[in-house]
């Protein structure tokens, strides 16, 4: 059994992101551990708590959130990539915290730490 770090760079409207989620779920089901998932590039959009989807579709933002709740897997958001894409953790008047609580605000340094520590690094 190995420890994995995952990197997700695709948005919640891209079906590739669903692949990443099911891969993460399968890793745990097969007895591996995930030390963290790092959301970078358009992947940061998965953390936007206002993402909505019709009831007959998987809402990937909610699915990640649920996955975090159930598995306690750290979901790291690159805040620099996030701010460029309208995500913000500011509570000042001009802003509005729109990052879901199940995501951890991080920087690229966390990418280094995760990928360095993990036995296996998978970019999905």
């Amino acid at each position: 059994m190995s420890s994995f770090a995952l990197i997700v760079t695709t948005s919640p409207t891209d079906n590739k992101t669903y692949t990443a989620l099911t891969f993460a779920q399968q890793l745990l089901a097969d007895g591996h551990s995930i030390i963290g998932i790092f959301f970078y590039q358009d992947g940061v959009l998965n953390a936007n708590q206002y993402v909505q989807a019709p009831s007959d579709e998987v809402n990937l933002y909610q699915a990640w959130s649920t996955f975090q709740k159930q598995s306690a897997t750290p979901l790291h958001l690159c805040i620099t990539a996030g701010e460029r894409r309208g995500l913000t953790d500011s509570n000042e008047v001009a802003f509005s915290h729109n990052i879901d609580d199940h995501f951890t605000i991080s920087g690229l340094g966390e990418l280094v730490v995760l990928t360095c520590k993990a036995d296996k690094v998978i970019q999905l």
Partner: protein, 123 residues
Amino acid sequence: MMSDQVKKYAIVNTSATFNKFNAKEALDAALILASYEMPVALYFIGDGVYQAQKQQNAESIGAKDFIATFKALGFYDIEDIYISADCLSQRQLATEFAFTDAKLVSKEEFAVRLNQADVILTF
């Protein structure tokens, strides 16, 4: 609400079924245009021809089964559906489609048909 003018629209699909969200958002646009009683034709070229395949299972990979809507295009009076025969055979695909009305056309005929549109949108 209807506009006084009528234009002919071409919705050109170049993306595979699950490539980003292009296929779904192209279909949404086509259905709205049709509901405003604009003549709409659908075109499938490049990886877009994958969209027209039968037996796809969107729900198994977390997506909505929007391909099922293809069967209902007739209700929306969308009857002009053109699939590039070259792109289909290049990808070694079957010629049984998720639509009833699809026409398999050469690239020359594809170009002629496309030229009949007033407005062309690609997805």
